[in-house]
């Protein structure tokens, strides 16, 4: 019989599932789907380089930043989290994790951390690769400006990955239709309410990422022709607080859902 204390079992469970999630999402060919999504902004950069746009630095801010925030982060988060949880719940293997002394949130936290770690290189790639393509296509701006903008975007995307990953964790544990809910919340809700004027805009997760992008990448959070400009984007502190607070809330909801959902 095990003599492990609940605390050591919890810590051990978090570590074990973190490593498992990294193995499942980052190692070998399993990273390809996320990488494919992250590479799509590169296509935009290549086309822009081919047609010879005059100001690649502005183009990076005008097109690549919103594209990665609106689409790459949600999809990379979904690709990293939902298949992991979906497979475990669909075939019932999650039961192995729940019939142990460690509390149910411990393996979930491990999966979440592993998924975030697996997301980070992909999101950095999504920020850097199109930037490098545009940089190489010829630019008048300094390398330092480019580095600041790309590093800033990497930071924004990573924070977005953390927040969106938590949302996906909740839907993955809570519902069998996690993909539909996640698309609705992270893309539908974010795009629609983030693009509408009015107080509902505050509920859009995109708004806070665009607020960070404005400060860290020096780009406008507006994108004429597609979304309504936000006259008062949130500052860095507010954005970080909302995103981290949201991550914690959604993870707690996931932990609660884990207690309530039947494993069949």
């Amino acid at each position: 019989m095990s003599t492990a204390t609940p605390a050591s079992a919890t810590a051990s469970a978090v570590r074990a599932l973190r490593d498992y999630a990294i193995r499942r999402r980052l190692v070998g060919l399993r990273i390809l789907p996320s990488l494919a999504v992250a590479a799509l902004p590169c296509l935009v950069a290549v086309v822009a380089a081919m047609v010879g746009r005059e100001d690649p630095f502005e183009l990076y801010g005008e097109f690549i930043v919103p594209l990665t925030i609106y689409f790459v982060v949600p999809f990379v988060a979904m690709f990293s989290v939902l298949p992991l949880l979906g497979e475990l719940y669909d075939n019932g293997a999650i039961g192995y994790l729940y019939i142990r002394p460690a509390p149910r949130w411990a393996p979930l936290l491990g999966i979440y951390l592993g998924a975030i770690i697996a997301m980070i290189p992909v999101l950095i790639f999504a920020a850097l690769a199109p930037g490098l393509i545009l940089l190489l296509s010829g630019t008048e701006d300094s390398i330092g400006d480019w580095a600041t903008r790309m590093a800033g975007l990497s930071g924004v995307l990573i924070l977005g990955g953390i927040a969106y990953g938590a949302v996906c964790m909740f839907f993955g544990v809570w519902s069998r239709r996690a993909i539909i809910w996640s698309v609705f919340m992270l893309i539908g809700w974010g795009v629609i309410f983030g693009g509408l004027p009015g107080s509902m805009r505050n509920t859009s997760p995109h708004r806070y990422l665009l607020g960070l992008a404005k400060e860290w990448c020096g780009v406008s959070n507006t994108w004429t022709g597609m979304f309504v400009p936000d006259p008062s984007p949130p500052g860095v502190l507010t954005s970080i607080l909302v995103l981290t607070g949201g991550s914690i809330v959604f993870f707690l909801l996931a932990a609660r859902a884990a207690k309530r959902r039947d494993v069949l």
């Binding site: 789907p33 086309v47 746009r53 999809f75």
Partner: protein, 301 residues
């Protein structure tokens, strides 16, 4: 006891008259119909058809001078704008009502696990050890998939059209005579493309979850991408990377209303020939993916 060579003997006994792919066809329909969401979407499609026919009834029977009223209203709100008439272009709008909210989700919920489930459960070994070949399998599954999609979309719009011409004013038939053919062609090609696309995705991913994710990425991401690429190059043919746009333009092509397309849109549309090429190309690529995936499993057949 005499030994027999351990080799495969092809069945030489009497066979049923039904074609070989028929059991796969019926099994696919049964499997699809088993999904609660497939039934819900089918019901919603029928309800939409019923609502539109009720609307037509009111327009033609209760307020027969509705066109004059609409014209007055249109001139008051949008002077110089087009007057609404029920013609091929109006039917294009109706078709879109059945393509986007019905055909697309239906193809996802009907087919998200179609080939993947067979791959996971090694059902191919059972299929291909019988007289079913990979080609028969593909035909049976695709025919069932396309038939179901057509039934849920084409049947309601055909019902609406029949109702429209039967209660519409004299001469209305000539305005919309080509509509059934155009809608049928548009829905058939779109259904074939979606059915093959779903099956190809599910054959590659081998997982219902991944198929869902890839489907969402293809349709949502490409919509965004098409807009950006057009913004960069000002070349409307980049819109063709978006399957939704392709479906829209192709439907318009089949209905013979392409010349009116750009008048209704802020952005121009991709050239119909480019769209047709993209759609045919998608169908061919999906067929190649499916064929390769099935042939690997079909060594017995």
């Amino acid at each position: 006891m005499a030994f027999r060579a351990a080799e495969y003997d092809r069945f030489t006994g009497p066979r049923r008259k039904a074609p070989v792919w028929w059991p796969l066809f019926t099994a696919t329909i049964r499997r699809g119909w088993g999904s609660k969401w497939v039934r819900r979407i089918t019901f919603a499609s029928m309800m939409m058809a019923l609502t539109v026919t009720t609307l037509f009834y009111f327009l033609y029977q209760v307020i027969p001078d509705w066109q004059a009223l609409l014209k007055q209203f249109g001139q008051a709100t949008n002077p110089g704008g087009e007057t609404f008439v029920i013609d091929s272009h109006a039917y294009l709008g109706l078709l879109r009502m059945f393509v986007y909210p019905v055909l697309l989700p239906l193809s996802l919920v009907f087919g998200y696990d179609l080939v993947a489930a067979d791959l996971r459960s090694n059902a191919f070994e059972s299929y291909f050890s019988r007289s079913i070949t990979p080609l028969t399998y593909l035909v049976g599954r695709t025919f069932a998939f396309v038939s179901f999609l057509m039934l849920v979309t084409y049947a309601p719009v055909l019902w609406i059209w029949t109702f429209d011409v039967s209660i519409g004013p004299d001469g209305h038939f000539s305005e919309v005579a080509a509509v059934p053919l155009g809608m049928g062609a548009a829905l058939l090609v779109t259904s074939i493309m979606l059915a093959l696309m779903m099956q190809a995705i599910t054959a590659v991913t081998r997982s219902g979850i991944w198929t869902n994710l890839v489907f969402v990425v293809v349709f949502l991401f490409s919509a965004m991408l098409g807009g950006i690429l057009y913004g960069l190059t000002q070349n409307p043919n980049w819109f063709a990377v978006n399957p939704l746009h392709c479906i829209h333009v192709f439907c318009s092509l089949c209905m013979g209303t392409t010349e009116r397309l750009n008048r209704r849109h802020m952005d121009p549309t991709a050239d119909p020939s480019v769209v047709a090429t993209v759609m045919i190309g998608t169908i061919v690529v999906c067929l190649v993916i499916l064929w390769r995936s099935l042939r690997r499993r079909g060594v017995v057949g």
